[in-house]
């Protein structure tokens, strides 16, 4: 290989890197966000495999269990009941793992490049969080298109409500993943830690069973699980658009109660948001420290 003499290089184009500041940081958020979307798009296998799990839960497990409890769920199709819960699952792993790529990136990838750029590290973390949330919510939206197969109507209001709730949940889950990733240096440990949290969170959230008539220990655990407060609003939204007898409503969609007080949807969503913001704040602080 030899150096090709330059054909057209009249004068050196000088670049002056601007002073940092808000605009610079916003640009960084945008770059990181954009990169996250491109990365996901270029990885079709990941897109498909992360949809496989919720499909299995909804159509295989859901159908199998329906046979067991034939007509038992108060006349409501079990898959219809499970839909909001499985919807949350569709983005659970995508969100956490796209946050996890930061672990990999820090050692080997583009993140190291970004860490020497004249931008605040917090901006990089925010971009990563928004990117992961967008990707995960997108994953949820794809799953949402299956709603009709389990008799959930495509009412615009319902769809918009669910998409908004998906975005919120995706944000908080990605923030959780980032918080974990901030302290963990190896991909294996990250996977292990995240799995350890995600599965119990999913099972305790009432995604697969109603929150009524539970033994005390389980009721307490479901109330502690943050995911409960994201699944319940989605179930409320879906049930509000179904024609269900009040008795079944009471059993299947009792809502989250604290000592007999039914927590309003807005409070639940606010809880999820606050948790996400706190975890994001922790992640930002962690990444801003240098060795």
């Amino acid at each position: 290989m030899t150096v090709q003499p330059a054909v057209t290089t009249p004068t050196v184009v000088g670049v002056r890197v601007p002073e940092g500041g808000m605009r610079q940081d916003l640009r960084a958020v945008k770059v990181v966000w954009q990169r996250e979307l491109i990365r996901f798009k270029s990885d079709r296998a990941r897109m498909l495999t992360s949809l496989l799990q919720p499909v299995l839960y909804l159509f295989v497990l859901g159908t199998g269990l329906s046979a067991l409890a034939a007509g038992g769920a108060g006349g409501v199709n079990l898959r219809t009941f499970m839909f909001p819960g499985v919807l949350s699952m569709a983005l659970l792993f995508t969100a956490a793992f796209s946050a996890g790529s930061i672990v990999w990136d820090r050692e080997f990838g583009f993140l190291r490049e970004m860490l020497v750029a004249p931008v605040r590290r917090g901006a990089i973390v925010i971009g990563k969080c928004l990117g992961g949330a967008t990707v995960a919510a997108g994953q949820g939206v794809v799953f949402l298109t299956l709603a009709g197969l389990v008799h959930v109507p495509y009412t615009p209001v319902l769809m918009l409500t669910l998409v908004a709730e998906l975005l919120l949940l995706a944000f908080t889950l990605t923030a959780f993943g980032l918080m974990a990733a901030a302290r963990i240096r190896s991909m294996q440990s990250f996977m292990a830690v995240v799995q350890m949290f995600l599965l119990p969170m999913f099972f305790l959230s009432g995604a697969l069973y109603p929150l009524s008539n539970l033994p005390t220990w389980l009721r307490v655990l479901t109330r502690i699980d943050p995911l409960t407060y994201a699944v319940d609003p989605m179930r409320r939204a879906v049930f509000a658009h179904l024609d269900i007898p009040p008795a079944a409503q009471r059993v299947l969609n009792p809502g989250v109660t604290w000592f007999g007080w039914r927590v309003p949807t807005m409070v639940e969503l606010a809880l999820v948001l606050v948790m996400g913001l706190v975890m994001l704040g922790i992640a930002m602080a962690e990444f801003s420290r240098t060795e």
């Binding site: 054909v7 670049v15 610079q24 583009f110 490049e113 020497v116």
Partner: protein
């Protein structure tokens, strides 16, 4: 082998540090400890504008740690350093605006095109929209990749990726370009082509280059080199002065009985020889005149002999008492301890 003093004022034909006023990198007593392990043990040096300054040493000698401190990625535990006039701790942000960094391992996004990688970088650095296209054209042209701008990086060879990274490091017109082992892991032919590109960019841009390497032949491209071993700078000067300072030629012998030859060299000539690269190796002033005596007096049949002018290898050996390859073998253990200490912190 004895250590020869180096005349700091520079011998004949020495490119002394270019006289460009204020140093662009200035380091005083810089140190970094990880727990009990000292990675960099207090070093001092200045790099002048326009200079190509090399850090030469085995793996684990503290080269990368130094570069990371100068690039604000690692906070020093002692001493101070300024880059482009800004303190690397107190004015981190200003330092970052003025430097470009090419990492030891690739940090490109392989699923993006070459051009896209550069566009992201430009946006991250806030390169003004009005110049960004021209500048991308220019840097890609400089590393001979303009024609391949639309290809995905994953289709690039190792050498092409490295060239693209150099282009990216240059994109925002930094005052100092840091190259951490710019040619490690590349085959010799690709390595020399990378150097063609680096020399070309030096011709075209006003830039100071700070690089680390453990390849002796690469250090030859530098105006000045600092030999670093165990976290300390052992010696710092231009390659020519350093080579002259050794003052001895390297003689390598193949004999019928190497151990008898080493013994005979010791007894009859008072020369300490050792086996390096499969041959009896020693250094002696005026090697060519020494060879006839060797044949006459050694007493062990000689099969082949070679005499070489001092190389940077000899310089390294004369200042550290070991070859760079041997130093790397023994530093593996130190690296392990280092990694263990580092992990233990978390």
């Amino acid at each position: 082998m004895t250590t020869t003093g180096v005349d700091a004022s520079g011998g004949a034909g020495t490119p002394a540090p270019p006289d460009g006023g204020e140093p662009v990198v200035s380091v005083r007593g810089l140190a970094k400890r990880y727990g009990d392990v000292t990675a960099v043990a207090g070093i001092d040096f200045d790099v002048m504008p326009g200079e190509t300054f090399g850090f030469l040493g085995p793996n684990g000698a503290g080269k990368s740690t130094t570069i990371n401190m100068l690039c604000t990625l690692v906070t020093p535990t002692g001493g101070s350093a300024t880059v482009a006039g800004h303190d690397v701790v107190a004015r981190r942000h200003q330092v970052r605006r003025n430097i470009g960094l090419v990492f030891q391992d690739t940090t490109l996004d392989s699923y993006l095109t070459a051009e896209r990688n550069l566009q992201f970088h430009a946006e991250l650095y806030g390169v003004p929209k009005s110049v960004v296209d021209d500048r991308i054209h220019q840097v890609l042209d400089m590393v001979g990749l303009w024609e391949r701008r639309g290809s995905l990086v994953r289709t690039f060879s190792g050498g092409m990726q490295r060239r693209l990274e150099i282009a990216r490091g240059l994109l925002h017109s930094p005052r100092v370009l840091f190259l951490d082992e710019p040619t490690v892991g590349l085959d010799p032919q690709t390595r020399s082509s990378i150097w063609d590109y680096i020399n070309e960019l030096k011709r075209r841009e006003e830039i100071t280059i700070f690089l680390t390497t453990h390849y002796m032949d690469e250090a030859e491209h530098c105006d000045r080199i600092a030999i670093i071993d165990n976290g300390r700078i052992v010696v710092l000067d231009s390659p020519d002065v350093l080579k002259a300072s050794v003052g001895k030629d390297r003689v390598q012998l193949h004999t019928a009985d190497d151990s008898a030859a080493i013994k005979a060299l010791k007894e009859r000539f008072g020369i300490a020889a050792a086996i390096h690269e499969g041959a009896v190796t020693f250094a002696v002033p005026g090697g060519e005149q020494f060879v006839p005596r060797l044949f006459a007096e050694l007493g062990v049949p000689i099969q082949a002999v070679s005499v070489a002018r001092p190389s940077l290898d000899d310089v390294f050996m004369s200042y550290t008492g070991t070859t760079i390859r041997d130093a790397e073998a023994s530093s593996t253990d130190q690296m392990r301890a280092f990694v263990a200490a580092f992990r233990g912190r978390r």
